[in-house]
């Protein structure tokens, strides 16, 4: 069976204008720099990283909302960059997105029914009102808003954050997508309902075989939902592998540091924390060599010269660090 998403050597640069009136230099933000990965059918891949690492740009590029500078994104075997008009609409129908902020991602003056029906209208998928009504009800109930009739005529502000996120999910489900891109789906929600939404996503994966790319900065929750984890730093993948392996035996020093600072809800388990000082450098002037070396606790002189590539460290587990090759 082929993968649903295949990304090869993806690169996305944003031009920034710097300098005065006369000596204008074109500089670029390297939002995504040579990233390759695949997503299998029915798989949950978590893309983890700090803000500014390029993970949100990755989500928008996968959605076809940003055009890649170079590289190929194949969805269902079709390169979305070369598609036009109708064809891209068809591919897009199979890829839907869930946003971070359920308070902002719903139009405040549309009823829930209108919001969930909107994708159907846009794609002209239903012939009559009754069919539309049925599909909206089914999507709402699949997203856990039961009974749907209680919600359909309400406005977003009458619902709680968790319910709104379910509406967003219903709006995606109504198109029966094969791939969901979830951009921080629970980070704005209360702890007590995060699990509900995550479990709902897992359920959808199980029932409908939907693949999910989950973009998040919260390493604490990814272990519960993801099959594989990809860690990004400054537009690069630095480590990718099976979730448990990455969490329990991280190979890249960045992954290790990140994991060590995730607070553990148990005062008896104090660990050695590796707090990286400073902040992620800006992605305009990238450091030479390994881009993590200025903050890396184990950096060596050669890290300033050679840019490491992803290399296997265990079964299906790769990391990009020079120290790994020397043993």
């Amino acid at each position: 069976m082929s993968s649903i998403v295949e990304v090869t050597h993806l690169r996305k640069l944003f031009p920034v204008k710097k300098g005065g009136l006369f000596d204008r230099q074109e500089k670029f933000v390297h939002a995504i720099d040579d990233v390759s990965f695949t997503v299998e059918r029915g798989e949950v891949l978590a893309v983890v990283g700090e803000s500014g690492c390029g993970k949100s740009t990755l989500a928008l590029t996968l959605m076809g909302l940003e055009r890649p500078t170079s590289g190929v994104i194949q969805i269902n075997g079709q390169n979305i960059a070369t598609l036009k008009g109708k064809e891209i609409q068809v591919v897009r129908r199979h890829v839907q997105m869930i946003f971070q902020d359920p308070y902002e991602s719903l139009n405040p003056i549309m009823t829930i029914a209108d919001i969930v029906a909107e994708p159907l209208k846009v794609h002209g998928l239903v012939k009559n009102k009754q069919e539309r009504q049925e599909r909206v009800i089914r999507a709402l109930e699949d997203a856990g808003l039961k009974p749907a009739l209680n919600f359909m005529h309400r406005l977003p502000q009458e619902l709680s954050g968790g319910q709104r996120q379910r509406v967003v999910i219903a709006g995606a489900l109504v198109l029966e997508p094969e791939l969901l891109i979830a951009d921080e789906p629970v980070s704005m929600l209360d702890v007590s309902i995060r699990a509900e939404i995550l479990n709902l996503l897992l359920e959808l994966r199980q029932m409908r075989g939907i693949s999910i790319v989950m973009i998040t900065h919260d390493l604490g929750t990814v272990g519960y939902v993801a099959d594989r984890i990809a860690v990004m730093y400054l537009g690069r993948l630095v480590e990718i592998g099976p979730a448990l392996q990455v969490l329990q035996q991280p190979h890249h020093p960045y992954t290790r540091a990140l994991l060590s600072v995730v607070p553990v809800p148990n005062p008896r388990q104090r660990r050695e924390r590796v707090i990286l000082q400073g902040e992620t450098p800006n992605p305009i002037n990238l450091p030479p060599g390994c881009r993590f070396h200025p903050r890396c606790p184990v950096a060596q002189p050669r890290c300033q010269e050679t840019d490491p590539m992803l290399q296997p460290v265990a079964a299906a587990h790769e990391a990009a660090c020079l120290l790994l090759s020397s043993g």
Binding site: S192, R194, G220, A257, V264, R268, I275
Partner: protein
């Protein structure tokens, strides 16, 4: 600071007043970090604003005392209270961007905080104090002339902390200080707060919903739900011997990296709205261990053992 039986009502139009806060008591000792935990809408903000007496116009403190430096803050005149704020009790806010004035240099804002409260007046001394504060929070002196938008999120939060420390307060109220930040920056800020606590002997009231942060930062924890104290104990007791079902459920819902294979639990339903509180225990509609009495009678805060309080009928029975 010791707070006893603090209650706050919100006056509503065309409805009886909502009891937003009912008989909350706690003590904050010198150098102690007290974690205030709960979902949004559980009364954390109301408690904070009541302590500072900054409630909105329809809020009324109906009972209780807030003892601090030998006086009851609730008895102070408005001027004396204004003097108390920032000089003795300072605050750090969640979104540092909103809390800083975008058109004023960061150094000037810190200086303003110092001068405003007559902490120091002479120009030269103020400058020295600003430099000292920035150094304390780890901001290089060259950055004092920059504007907030030139700062990253973590730097802004550091600047906020420097402002809070301007007048050498004894207490800092930190309202979700790391919520919007990345884990690494969060770790930096938490480390900074911890060092400052040790160096300056600060007491911190740490308001958050992140149980992981509480476990790492706090000495004691106050869990709130629907405006009521649910459980109040040392951090070790809360995490390893929780008595109230709400505390237990909250812990089960929080992801723990050290046990990544367990299924994450959720608490169905949502916190009660203040204008529609259940008649009995406020957690009853969502409680997994609920029984008849919970629906009719509000449980009182009951001492489980020394320094461990919980308000649940089940605890009383034991």
């Amino acid at each position: 600071m010791s707070v006893t039986d603090l209650s706050t009502d919100f006056l509503l139009e065309s409805a009886p007043p909502a009891h937003a806060l009912v008989n909350v008591s706690f003590t904050l000792r010198e150098g102690e970090v007290l974690g205030l935990v709960g979902e949004s809408g559980c009364g954390k903000t109301t408690l904070m604003l009541s302590l500072m007496r900054l409630l909105p116009a329809n809020g009324r403190i109906t009972s209780g005392t807030v003892n601090f430096m030998g006086q009851d803050l609730l008895d102070l005149g408005e001027n004396a209270m204004a003097d108390m704020r920032w000089k003795h009790i300072a605050m750090i806010f969640q979104g540092a961007m909103n809390a800083l004035n975008p058109v004023q240099r960061v150094g000037d804002q810190i200086a303003e905080a110092i001068v405003q409260h007559n902490y120091i007046q002479e120009k030269g001394v103020v400058d020295g104090r600003v430099a000292e504060l920035l150094d304390l929070v780890g901001i290089g002196p060259e950055r004092r002339r920059q504007y907030p938008h030139q700062y990253s999120g973590g730097m802004r939060q550091r600047a906020m902390i420097a402002m809070a420390l301007a007048c050498n307060p004894q207490i800092i109220i930190a309202d979700e200080p790391t919520t919007a930040l990345d884990v690494m920056v969060q770790a930096q800020i938490l480390e900074l707060l911890d060092t400052l606590r040790q160096r300056l002997g600060l007491s911190i009231l740490f308001v958050t919903h992140d149980l992981g942060v509480v476990a790492e930062m706090c000495d004691t924890v106050l869990v709130m739900y629907g405006g009521v104290t649910v459980e109040y104990a040392s951090v070790d007791t809360i995490y390893n011997d929780p008595q109230h079902p709400y505390t237990r459920e909250l812990l089960r819902a929080f992801p723990d990296l050290s046990r990544p294979t367990e299924k994450l639990a959720s608490i169905p339903g949502h916190p009660p709205r203040l204008n529609a509180l259940p008649p009995g225990c406020r957690f009853a509609p969502r409680c997994p261990a609920v029984f008849d009495r919970c629906h009719t009678e509000q449980p009182a805060l009951h001492q489980v053992k020394l320094g461990h309080w919980a308000s649940c009928h089940l605890v009383e029975r034991m």
